[in-house]
Each structure stands twice: as structure tokens, then as C-alpha cells.
């Protein structure tokens, strides 16, 4: 008798309308997961990479295939940043919803304008792409535009909650505009400063802050620093008096440290995306952190 009532309960349960499944989001980079979390906090979120990984070089691992298989919406930087691994994931995940051109696949660089676009890539130019610099999450104005695009796309793949997504975006973007004004005021002393970089990761940030890049540790974009190239930079860096030699958290610090020893210019390691394990969990916290670090460097001079 008991078994039968149990059985009845299960059958009843099976007949009930399924609870609304939370939207499943796949972000190629953690900044898009963080942005989506602001705009759709109930969605299930997963990021393929984290702040300590070079997003250009990711393995199309089985775990990523499994995650993309179940995604309703994938959000990626685009501009060929993920060219080495996302196509392999899309091909193996067998999820028609996240193929290029589908509503479930959003490339931010295709809806927000990139810098340094090229009509053609000269032979031997290194890893540069005609689509321009893909690291556009580091410009707060472009991040706001990305927020608008993500919100629209959320409404498209989950129309039942479209109004909710729109309202959330409006609240978020209003708060973002206020922050933008604060950041601009705080960043005033950084305007006109010079900097040495390793790769074009922070180019959007430098443009926004009015900081000039005087040297790149990479001989050509995407090609790791070589001793020969570093040697040619010494004079340039000594005379340019830059604020710091900046490298990303995912890059080995060796080259920057070598040049720092030779020139006396300090090394500054910065995150190029959010890093919840270090208290940088939202896009706003990322810009706060970047400004804090740069201003600290400026004050120490």
C-alpha cells in the first residue's frame, strides 16, 4: 500500500508542470559572467576562464564542452580572441543554440566597436586580427554598451522575463554612469602619464585614462618577450620615465622584472578581468582596483 502511494506521488510529481528552469549562461571570460550576474542574477552562470588564464590559449577541455552543451546563451569577447578554442567547443558541444549567428551566441566585439581594426594583416605582424583589439572590457564606457547588448540578448533568449531584464539594465546603467563620473575625477592625476606594457591587454584602459604606452615587452603582438627585444627597450624606458611596467596576472612576471632591474622602473601586475578570490567580484570592483593600483603607483613617485 505504501509503495503504491509513493508511486502515485511520483506520478503526480511527474505530471506537474516543470518548475521554470533557470537560464544557463556560458561566458568565455569572467568579466562577461560578472556583467551577466548584474543583469540576470537568477541565471546559472559559468565562466570558461579566470583571471589567471591567458584567454588566447585555452584548451577545449571536456568540462568546457559539457558546459557549452547545456548553455542557453554564450557570451564571448569575440574579435578572434577565442579563435583557438571556441570553435572546437562549438563543434563538439552539439548545441545548435550557440552556433555563430544564433541568438544564443553573443560576441561583444560584434556589437561594440573595437579599436585598432585593420583592413589587412601584414605578413609577419604576429597575432593581430583585422577585427581589432578584443580586450574591450577594460573601457568602462564600452562595458556599459556591452551591458546593453547582453540585456537585449537575455530578453531575446528568455522573452518571458524581458521586462525584468530591461528594468535591471536601466538600474545598473544608471549606477554605472555615476561611477563613471567618479572614476574620471579620481583618475585626473593619471592623465598624460607614460607606461610600459606586455601585450595590448590594457590598451582600452590607457586610452580611457589618457595614459601613453611607450614600449611593449612583446616584440610582435602575441609573441613572448625575447632577451634581444628587451635589451633594445632599456634606453627607451630609462629616458621615457614611465609610471610602471605593467603585466597581466596571467603573464609570467620574469620579463617585466628583468627590465625593472635594468631601468629602476617598478613592475605593476594588474588583473585584466574580475577575480572573486581577491575581492574583485564585479565590474565596478575591477575598475576600483585598477584605479587604486595606478594611483598608488603615482603617489609613490
Amino acid at each position: 500500500m505504501r509503495t503504491r502511494s509513493k508511486l502515485c506521488a511520483w506520478v503526480l510529481l511527474g505530471c506537474l508542470p516543470l518548475p521554470v528552469q533557470a537560464l544557463s549562461l556560458f561566458a568565455c571570460e569572467p568579466e562577461w559572467a560578472a556583467l551577466a550576474r548584474e543583469l540576470a542574477p537568477e541565471a546559472r552562470m559559468t565562466s570558461a576562464t579566470h583571471a589567471y588564464q591567458d584567454p588566447h590559449y585555452i584548451e577545449a577541455r571536456p568540462s568546457l564542452i559539457a558546459r557549452l552543451r547545456r548553455a542557453d546563451l554564450a557570451i564571448c569577447s569575440g574579435a578572434a580572441l577565442e579563435a583557438g578554442w571556441l570553435p572546437a567547443l562549438q563543434q563538439r558541444a552539439a548545441n545548435p543554440g550557440v552556433h555563430n549567428g544564433q541568438p544564443g551566441m553573443l560576441f561583444i566585439a560584434s556589437v561594440v566597436e573595437t579599436i585598432d581594426q585593420l583592413d589587412e594583416v601584414p605578413f609577419g605582424a604576429g597575432d593581430v586580427h583585422p577585427e581589432g583589439n578584443p580586450h574591450l572590457q577594460l573601457d568602462p564606457e564600452r562595458l556599459r554598451q556591452a551591458g546593453a547588448a547582453v540585456s537585449q540578448r537575455l530578453a531575446q533568449v528568455d522573452p518571458d522575463q524581458a521586462a525584468e531584464y530591461r528594468a535591471r539594465y536601466l538600474r545598473w546603467s544608471l549606477a554605472w554612469q555615476q561611477r563613471l563620473a567618479d572614476w574620471q575625477a579620481r583618475a585626473e592625476p593619471l592623465r598624460g602619464q607614460r607606461i610600459v606594457v606586455q601585450h595590448s591587454t590594457f590598451d582600452y584602459l590607457w586610452r580611457w585614462l589618457g595614459i601613453e604606452v611607450i614600449a611593449d615587452l612583446e616584440p610582435r603582438p602575441g609573441v613572448p618577450p625575447t632577451p634581444g627585444h628587451l635589451n633594445t627597450l632599456v634606453g627607451q624606458v630609462e629616458s621615457g620615465k614611465p609610471l610602471a611596467i605593467v603585466h597581466s596576472w596571467y603573464q609570467a612576471p620574469d620579463s617585466a622584472q628583468w627590465l625593472a632591474r635594468r631601468t629602476g622602473v617598478p613592475v605593476l601586475a594588474l588583473p585584466s578581468t574580475i577575480a572573486p578570490d581577491r575581492g574583485i567580484g564585479t565590474p565596478a570592483q575591477l575598475f576600483d582596483h585598477l584605479l587604486d593600483q595606478l594611483l598608488e603607483q603615482q603617489n609613490a613617485r
Binding site: 590559449y57 568540462s63 613572448p224
Partner: protein, 382 residues
């Protein structure tokens, strides 16, 4: 029965007719050149000694809206003795099936084992392991249909079923419509931020070898004296049986999952071939395995070692003789850019047990290999 060159043209005709209807994206064209110099011939296939081109491929990929994608790969191999052209891939693959399903039709690489579905220029060593060369002719592609399914699970889980004509596995007496069929499954996931894994089992049924019929490959060894009889690119499986079972395991480590600067890859595979012919008892089976370790210690440098062995039953009338060969390989590779690889490899072969000079070609060899690709190349698999 349609003859082989016509058969691979069928999917292509289909491609062109689809092309006429759909509004098309531009096709992606890729060219991969694999040039080498090898100091000596070695046993059980692989590259021939001297200068040559191995697995130089021209690929065209065309997407048909969101419905399907087509792939065509022509391969050229050239060495000091001969030049060989073949069509390795000419297939259509579905893109829009529900439930994680993918259907492939035409000529394509079987999903067997860990390495078989991968393109050889992505390999870490200049030649496939012994077991692939002995049991699958290096890599097994054929004309047929394949259905695979990726499960909606947290753990990656893929199941594939394939049916092939069998014409590319080798020359056999039987000629059924479905010459071979295969089942394979693989599982994979992450152990931590730094470690990931994949494991699989696969099975290949050879229906062209029903009792009574016998593989040609079994007897000619005695006359051709091992490797000299099989040229660099032996398409067929030299040691066949009705059933091929394979198991593979791969483990990768990179500090915090950042594989640009450092990565360690350990992989191992095992294969067993049973029911070799009508006289084979339950103890008469071929067996092979390898284990390999490849370490990328700088963004552009990697080094690796691989050790493998095959234990073969060499058919002689109604009985078998034992044969066993070991191979140890060490390599150093430099990637000046992500489209180029320069590899120096040393191969050492050891004949454990021989019969009638089957492994007379066993030798040590130094190989220098240079790979360069142009155009859109496939993103590499795990």
C-alpha cells in the same frame, strides 16, 4: 557496389547541390605542409627514410547556413620512392540536430581511441604509436555514417556509433555492405583548476573477416620482410581480427589551468585484437599499448617521451608464432609561431621476439620534422 573514387564523390555532389540553394558563407581553406628527413626506415610503417612530405593536406570547410558543415581534405605524401595522393575526408556533418546529436556522412575519421579522430599534424610525435600503425594503418578513416551524442550531464559524456563500408581498413576476402562498425564512448572533466582528464573505450567490428576468409596481411609478412614491404603510408591495418577493443586515458596539468607557459600531458592507450582467423583460439590475440608524457616547459618549447609495444600472433597455416616489438621515442619541439612546429625526434626499436624476419626492418632513427599551416586551421582538440 560503387567503386571507391566515385563513392567519396557522392557527398561532394550533395555539397554542390546544397551550395546552389543556400546563401553561402565563404569556404575556409587551409593548407598544412609536413616536411621531414628521417635517417633510417623503421618497422611497422611510419615515415620512410630520406627526405619527404608526410601528411601534407589541403582542406576546405564550407558551412551551409546553420544546417550542416562540409569538410574536404586531400592528402599528399611524398618520399624518395613514391608520391601518393588520397582523400581522407569528404563529409557532411549536421549542425542543428536536437539532444546533442550529430550526424556525419561521407568519408571521415572514426571516433576510435584517443588519437584516431585527431589530425596527425596536431600529434606530439612525428609518427603514430605502434598499436595505431599495426591495427589501424596509422589512422582509420572510411566511407560511412556516424551518429554521436553528447549527454546533457555535468561530466562530459559522448557516445558514438559508426558504420563503414570497410574499404579503407585493408584488403579482405569478405565484402559485406557494412564492412566495419564501431562504438565508442568517452568521459571527461576537471579534477581541479589545474588538472583535467578524459577516458574512453571503443570497439571496432571487422565484418570482412568472417571465419573462412582471411586477411591478406597475415601471410605476406613472411615474404616481404616486414617494414620494407609496407610503404610509409600504409592505409590498411596490417594485423586484423574480427574484434578490436581499445581503451584510452589522458590527463593534463597546467598551473591554474593556464596552459600557455607550461603544460604536462600524460596519455596511454591499450588495444586488443581478437578472432584473428578461423584457427585462433581464445589465447590467440594481438595486443598493444603505449604511454606518453609531453611537457611544454616554455610557451614555444615542448619535450616528450613515449614508450609502446605490440605483441602479435603471426599466422602460419593453422597455428601462430609469437612476435613482439617495442618502440621508445623521445622528441623536442619548437613552435616559432602557433602555425609552425620544428621537431627533432629519436626513435629506438627493440625486437623482443621475432619469427621469419617479420620485424627485420626494426631500427633506430632520427627524424627532423617541420610543419607549417596556412589559412584557417581547425582548433585543436583536447
Amino acid at each position: 557496389m560503387v567503386s571507391s573514387p566515385v563513392r567519396w564523390l557522392l557527398p561532394l555532389t550533395l555539397l554542390t547541390s546544397l551550395q546552389a540553394q543556400a546563401e553561402l558563407q565563404t569556404p575556409e581553406i587551409s593548407l598544412t605542409i609536413d616536411a621531414y628527413h628521417k635517417s633510417d626506415n623503421t618497422a611497422l610503417g611510419g615515415r620512410l627514410e630520406g627526405w619527404g612530405l608526410s601528411h601534407t593536406e589541403l582542406g576546405v570547410r564550407q558551412q551551409f547556413g546553420n544546417v550542416a558543415t562540409g569538410k574536404f581534405t586531400a592528402v599528399a605524401e611524398a618520399n624518395e620512392e613514391e608520391t601518393d595522393f588520397s582523400i581522407e575526408e569528404a563529409y557532411l556533418q549536421s549542425l542543428s540536430l536536437p539532444a546533442g546529436l550529430t550526424l556525419r556522412g561521407g568519408r571521415f575519421l572514426s571516433d576510435l581511441g584517443y588519437l584516431n579522430g585527431q589530425h596527425p599534424h596536431a600529434d606530439s610525435f612525428s609518427e603514430r604509436p605502434l598499436l595505431y600503425r599495426a591495427f589501424l594503418g596509422g589512422h582509420y578513416y572510411d566511407d560511412g555514417l556516424g551518429l554521436s551524442m553528447v549527454m546533457p550531464t555535468d561530466l562530459y559524456w559522448r557516445i558514438s556509433a559508426e558504420a563503414f563500408d570497410g574499404g579503407e581498413l585493408g584488403e579482405f576476402e569478405g565484402n559485406p555492405t557494412v564492412g566495419t562498425w564501431a562504438l565508442s564512448t568517452s568521459l571527461g572533466g576537471d579534477l581541479s583548476e589545474s588538472q583535467s582528464w578524459q577516458a574512453g573505450v571503443s570497439y571496432l567490428r571487422n565484418r570482412m573477416l568472417e571465419s573462412g576468409a582471411e586477411a591478406h596481411g597475415h601471410h605476406h609478412d613472411h615474404h616481404d620482410h616486414g617494414a620494407d614491404g609496407h610503404h610509409g603510408h600504409s592505409h590498411g591495418a596490417e594485423y586484423a581480427g574480427e574484434h578490436l577493443y581499445m581503451a584510452d586515458l589522458v590527463w593534463k596539468w597546467a598551473p591554474r589551468g593556464n596552459n600557455r607557459n607550461q603544460q604536462l600531458t600524460l596519455s596511454a592507450e591499450y588495444a586488443r585484437v581478437t578472432d584473428l582467423n578461423e584457427y585462433a583460439g581464445s589465447d590467440d590475440y594481438h595486443e598493444g599499448w603505449y604511454g606518453s608524457a609531453v611537457y611544454r616547459f616554455a610557451p614555444r618549447w615542448s619535450a616528450g617521451v613515449r614508450h609502446g609495444r605490440v605483441d602479435l600472433k603471426l599466422g602460419h597455416g593453422d597455428h601462430f608464432h609469437d612476435g613482439a616489438l617495442k618502440e621508445t621515442t623521445a622528441m623536442l619541439a619548437w613552435n616559432p609561431t602557433h602555425t609552425q612546429t620544428l621537431r627533432l625526434q629519436y626513435t629506438h626499436q627493440d625486437v623482443v621476439e621475432d619469427w621469419h624476419d617479420t620485424f627485420a626492418g626494426a631500427d633506430n632513427a632520427v627524424t627532423l620534422q617541420y610543419i607549417i599551416s596556412f589559412g584557417a586551421h581547425d582548433a585543436h582538440a583536447f
